[in-house]
């Protein structure tokens, strides 16, 4: 408040304060002096009052050895003195003995009574005055002779309003003087400060504002010789200096603007270059992905088809190697793309109900074969506490599980790998739970000093031969980031080299939910068989083998195929006939899939047929741009089961869990035997190892345990090599289906 006020107000406040302090102090001193003088007068009056009493006490003490009596009989004397001095303001005369007992009092009835409250006897004995309002008590020690100690004290009480009145008068006078001096001082201060200080300062302020506004020529009044004049002269010098500096600054400003313009241009160019570079990188990654997936689609697809048709053991081995290498390549591409997405923050999670038990079973099923290949046991354990359904991104969770399980099998040469799924912190009220997934192995283990580094991108355990285990070094880095996206944590426990390792993933606060109807519809689709009604399908792809692959996948169904190399040709066909379904690629010359979709929707807004987009692009922008233009988008490489499941949603079809009878269902003669996936994988492994006796045992087990009845009817008629071929074909279908889903 004070800091915000004007100098004049401050000075007046200071003058007022000083005056108040000085007048208050002098008033207090004066009042003290008045009080002191008054009290001295009271003391003198008290001495005069009690002098006859003290004299009598001394006289009586000379003729009496009983001082108690001498003091006691002074009550009458005290009364007489009290009456004599009543008009002088005496209100009380009493004598206290050394024990502060009242031994004499002008009011004789008070003799022997306790002293009144408020009477500070100690103070009185010390020579001071006890005071209560307008009443004062003063004491005189009683001596019987000059040699001895006092035998008591005579106390005289006065009622004296004079001091109070005097003090009030002094205060009133002081207040009056203060008001007079205050007004006088304020007036003088105002006059002086206004003329001598405020006005020149205001002029200087106006000058200062003018300088701030760019008026460097405004005259400054420097006539005063005092400090204000010094200030004005300083401002005048400052004004000149600013004028010079401003001129200099104008020059600098022009230079700087030129420099800034130049630098800005360079910066924008660099920025444009960086953005171009980034766009080029993204484009490159997308193109590379597309260009890699497109041939991979054909490689995997045709190898799958060939595998199903080939009976030569050697050729089957080659096909398996091709399929394996293709899948490895696809996995590498997927890892690089995932990491790129994660690093650029484009990876998104999509929460949906899922069954953790089913998820665990799927993972186990996927890796049973690889575990068996290395002769290690793959164990799973699922806690009873685990809810049936949780809300999470099951696809990413499965990816995490697969990465960890894959690593565990990869780095375990003997013993076992255990997959555990458990739930903690179950909160029934909130329907929340913490999901814990762990993968334990008895493999080579991880040294303690490297347990953090393995989660870094492109890092592998030191001393590890890359050629021995392969991989990009992105697996655990991606895994950790995916766990992070799911709001979870991952940690590794390992006692060191050769002691095995355990990766524990904790994902807290997952919502417990009910079964997802959509999932229900898709669940187990891989095991389903489709019997489509006759339909016409328009295939649009600039690459012939891609069209061939699709037609091969759908060769068992009563479909008629129309083919187009690009969008333009497709539109031409559409002008002549109406298909039941269109399957189109995205990237094509002349007219790409996106343009085609737009044209179709524009030309045939009331179309009755669905359009499905098959693309090797992994860019989300492609998906977003086309999602509203077509009914379905499938990513390449696409597997047969996924393709048929998608088509089943739009075409008339009969779906069954029973394997198709080649005869009854009208399937081609080489459509092969459909076995449950686990049994097929086992058979495939034994076949790859050339373990004939093992195959026989496995078939027997299958016969006994699972499909005893069916096999009793059919297996005996099959030749061994035919069983191996059919089992391998089924396995290929399953694996390719898994890959497609995981993409």
């Amino acid at each position: 408040m004070i800091r915000e006020s004007k100098i004049l107000a401050r000075l007046m406040l200071i003058v007022s304060g000083v005056m108040f302090i000085v007048l208050s102090a002098s008033t207090v001193v004066f009042i003290k002096e008045v009080r002191s003088e008054h009290i001295q007068n009271l003391r003198t009056a008290a001495d005069n009052v009690v002098a006859p009493m003290l004299k009598e006490i001394r006289n009586l003490a000379q003729t009496s050895d009983n001082i108690d009596w001498v003091l006691k009989v002074q009550s009458i004397n005290a009364r007489r003195l009290y009456e004599d001095h009543d008009s002088s303001g005496v209100i009380e005369i009493l004598i206290l003995d050394q024990e502060n007992r009242i031994v004499a009092h002008n009011d004789i009835s008070l003799v022997g009574k306790p002293i009144r409250e408020g009477l500070n006897v100690r103070s009185i004995r010390n020579g001071s005055i006890s005071n209560e309002g307008e009443k004062y008590w003063i004491g005189d020690p009683v001596y019987v002779d000059s040699q001895s100690e006092p035998v008591g004290i005579v106390i005289v009480g006065f009622h004296d309003a004079d001091l109070r009145h005097h003090v009030i008068t002094v205060l009133q006078t002081a207040a009056t003087l203060f008001l007079i001096f205050f007004m006088l001082a304020l007036g003088l201060t105002y006059f002086f400060v206004t003329r001598q200080i405020t006005r020149p300062i205001i002029q200087l302020v106006e000058t200062s504002k003018a300088i701030s506004a760019g008026d460097y020529e405004r005259p400054v009044d420097v006539s005063s010789l005092d400090e204000i004049g010094d200030l004005a002269r300083s401002m005048q010098q400052l004004q000149a200096a600013i004028r010079d500096k401003v001129a200099d600054l104008e020059g600098y400003k022009a230079q700087l603007e030129e420099e800034v313009k130049k630098r800005t241009g360079e910066y924008l160019a660099a920025k444009e270059e960086a953005e171009d570079s980034n766009r080029a990188k993204s484009r490159f990654l997308a193109n590379m992905s597309h260009e890699l997936r497109t041939p991979l689609n054909a490689v995997l697809g045709f190898s799958e088809i060939l595998h199903a048709q080939e009976s030569s053991k050697e050729k089957l081995n080659y096909l398996s190697s091709i399929n394996s290498a293709g899948n490895t390549l696809l996995a590498l591409i997927n890892e690089v793309l995932d990491f790129s997405k994660i690093e650029s923050g484009k990876m998104e999670v999509q929460y949906a109900p899922f069954s953790p038990r089913e998820l665990l079973n799927e993972v186990r099923t996927m890796f049973e074969q690889r575990a068996a290949e290395k002769d290690i046991r793959l164990l799973t354990h699922c806690s009873r506490e685990l809810p049936d359904y949780l809300l999470c991104d099951a696809f990413r969770l499965k990816q995490v599980m697969m990465n960890l399980c894959s690593n565990a099998i990869k780095f375990t040469s003997e013993g076992q790998v255990t997959l555990n799924l458990d739930a903690y912190d179950l909160k029934l009220q909130d329907q929340r739970v913490t999901l814990v997934f762990s993968v334990e192995d008895t493999g080579k283990g991880i040294p303690e000093d490297q347990q953090e580094a393995i989660f870094s991108a492109f890092e592998q355990v030191k001393g590890q031969q890359a050629s021995e285990y392969g991989g990009t070094g992105l697996g655990l880095a991606i895994t950790q980031r995916l766990v992070g996206l799911l709001n979870g944590k991952i940690r590794v426990e390992s006692q060191g080299a050769g002691q095995g390792a355990a990766f524990i993933v904790t994902i807290p606060d997952l919502e417990i939910t009910d079964r997802d109807p959509l999932q229900d519809g898709l669940a187990g689709s891989e095991d389903k068989q489709y019997r489509f009604a006759p339909a016409t399908i328009l295939l649009v792809d600039d690459i012939q083998y891609n069209r061939d692959l699709v037609m091969t996948f759908l060769s068992g169904q009563p479909f008629r195929f129309l083919q187009a190399n690009d969008g333009k040709e497709a539109l031409d066909i559409l002008g002549e006939s109406t298909p039941d379904l269109i399957l189109t690629d995205l990237k094509m010359p002349t007219m790409d899939g996106h343009q085609l979709l737009k044209e179709i929707n524009q030309r045939y807004p009331q179309r009755s047929y669905p359009v499905m987009l098959l693309t090797a692009s992994v860019q989300d922008s492609d998906v977003r741009e086309n999602a509203g233009l077509c009914e379905e988008i499938l990513c390449k490489p696409v597997c047969r089961s996924a393709l048929m499941a998608a088509m089943a949603r739009y075409l008339r079809v009969e779906v069954t869990d029973k394997p198709l009878d080649p005869v009854e269902d009208g399937l081609p003669a080489d459509s092969g035997l459909i076995l449950p996936e686990s049994q097929a994988q086992k058979l495939l492994l034994l076949a790859q190892q050339g373990d004939i006796s093992g195959l026989e045992t496995a078939v027997e087990e299958i016969e006994e345990i699972h499909t005893r009845q069916w096999y009793q009817e059919h297996v005996a008629d099959f030749k061994l090599d035919d069983i191996i071929r059919r089992s391998g074909k089924l396995l290929q279908e399953l694996e390719s289906g898994e890959k497609a889903r995981s993409d």
């Binding site: 009596w69 001498v70 009989v73 007489r80 004789i108």
Partner: protein, 444 residues
């Protein structure tokens, strides 16, 4: 016989008078009472500053030795004493066991029952031996001043009345007859003063008397004059009558006595203390003073005129010769817790042996002591005659005889007298004062 007594006086009394030497207690122990029955008691005795009380103080140890009773003896100037006494008696605190008292206060004290009647103590054989105490030896006139409504309230310790003290050397030198009437006083005063002035003794004034206002001051010599002229302050029905022609005549002559030529400066405001001092130091040739004043001028140590004075009865008026007897007496506080011991003290103080101890300081009411001691010792026949006259005829006005209204009425009339001395018209002043007193009496 007188010679024997004188020898006895000079051999025994001085021995007794020596306060701190062993005292022969047989004079008191001959009484058939147990003086030590209150041994260990502490008595508080209030006393006046009068010479008689002062004379008693040195002999208190005699009483203490006799009885084993400790005495706290507090002497105070008369005004102070009166105030203290009233405070104690009125408060009922009983701090003072024994108080001095005169007739003027006796009525009020009796009216308020502040004093213990003494007859029971006299009648108690354990406390009083009548054969030894000789109560009847006390002057009846003095006892009259100690009795109210037939109740004995005090015992006279010092008895006196105004008489005319005069310098016999001066009256003889200037051959002026000692006045016997009030008119003669006025004449003698002028004659004497003229003679004194002529003889170069102008620092001596011929006559003075009490003039200062006060119930116990100027009234004590003015009222005898009124009575001598046939007047009275109150009639038998207690109605004020002091504006009668007799009273006016008396006041007129009294005014002439105390004012004008022959009177000392400031003669209208003289207190008896001042009168005593003036006469004692030879500044006055004649004065009305209480008879016990002789104790202050009876030795060369006390006064330079110790052998130049004598005294006569108060002047005579048309109706006779009157005075105002006064007895300083001891009384027992009704609230005293030591009444028995207090009575023993009073009995001792007013006994004949004690009176003999005080012969140079007291004026006892005991006639035998006067006859056996004073009459033979004092060479002032006029004083002895005057004392005899007091014993025989000294009576007071009714208002001076213990009337409770006296302190108030006395104050009013004393003020009126003083106004007259200052020149106020006698009749008018008295008439107005009568009206005031009537109101006072009606309100009492």
């Amino acid at each position: 016989m007188k010679l024997i007594l004188l020898l006895l006086l000079f051999t025994t009394i001085p021995c007794l008078a020596n306060s701190r030497e062993p005292v022969d207690l047989s004079h008191w122990q001959s009484a058939s009472i147990d003086w030590e029955q209150f041994q260990g008691t502490r008595l508080t005795v209030l006393a006046d500053a009068q010479p008689a009380f002062a004379a008693l103080a040195p002999y208190l140890h005699v009483f203490e030795s006799l009885t084993g009773i400790k005495v706290g003896y507090i002497r105070a100037e008369q005004a102070d004493m009166r105030k203290r006494r009233e405070i104690d008696l009125a408060s009922g605190s009983g701090l003072y066991d024994v108080v001095p008292i005169g007739v003027t206060f006796l009525g009020r004290a009796h009216q308020n029952q502040w004093l213990a009647p003494l007859q029971p103590f006299l009648d108690d054989p354990l406390l009083t031996d009548p054969q030894w105490y000789l109560f009847d030896d006390l002057s009846p006139n003095s006892l009259r001043l100690c009795t109210i409504d037939q109740t004995l309230l005090s015992i006279p310790f010092d008895f006196s009345a105004p008489v005319l003290f005069y310098r016999k050397d001066l009256f003889q030198r200037f051959n002026i007859a000692v006045p016997d009437t009030y008119e003669e006083v006025v004449i003698a005063k002028r004659q004497l003063q003229k003679a004194l002035d002529k003889a170069g003794m102008g620092d001596i004034y011929a006559f003075a008397s009490r003039t200062r206002a006060g119930a116990g001051l100027n009234t004590w010599t003015v009222i005898p004059a009124i009575r001598a002229y046939g007047g009275e302050v109150l009639d038998q029905n207690k109605r004020p009558v002091f504006n009668s022609p007799e009273a006016v005549a008396a006041l007129t002559i009294y005014r002439d006595m105390v004012t004008g030529y022959g009177s000392p400066p400031n003669s209208q405001l003289l207190h008896f203390y001042e009168l005593r001092e003036m006469f004692k130091t030879g500044k006055l040739a004649s004065v009305f003073l209480a008879s016990h004043f002789f104790n202050e001028i009876d030795t060369p140590e006390k006064s330079p005129i110790w052998d130049k004075w004598d005294a006569v009865r108060m002047p005579r008026g048309p109706a006779g010769r009157e005075t105002s007897p006064w007895a300083w007496a001891f009384a027992i506080n009704a609230h005293s817790e030591h009444k028995g011991a207090a009575w023993l003290f009073i009995q001792w103080a007013t006994s004949e042996p004690t009176a003999k101890l005080l012969n140079t300081g007291g004026s006892p009411a005991r006639q035998k002591v006067w006859q056996s001691e004073y009459f033979s010792r004092l060479n002032t026949q006029g004083l002895l005659d005057a004392v005899n006259w007091i014993f025989e005829s000294g009576t007071n006005s009714s208002i001076q005889s213990g009337m409770p209204e006296f302190p108030v009425v006395g104050q009013h009339i004393s003020v009126a007298f003083n106004q007259i001395f200052f020149g106020a018209d006698v009749q008018t002043t008295l008439d107005q004062t009568v009206l005031e007193v009537e109101k006072v009496m009606a309100s009492q």
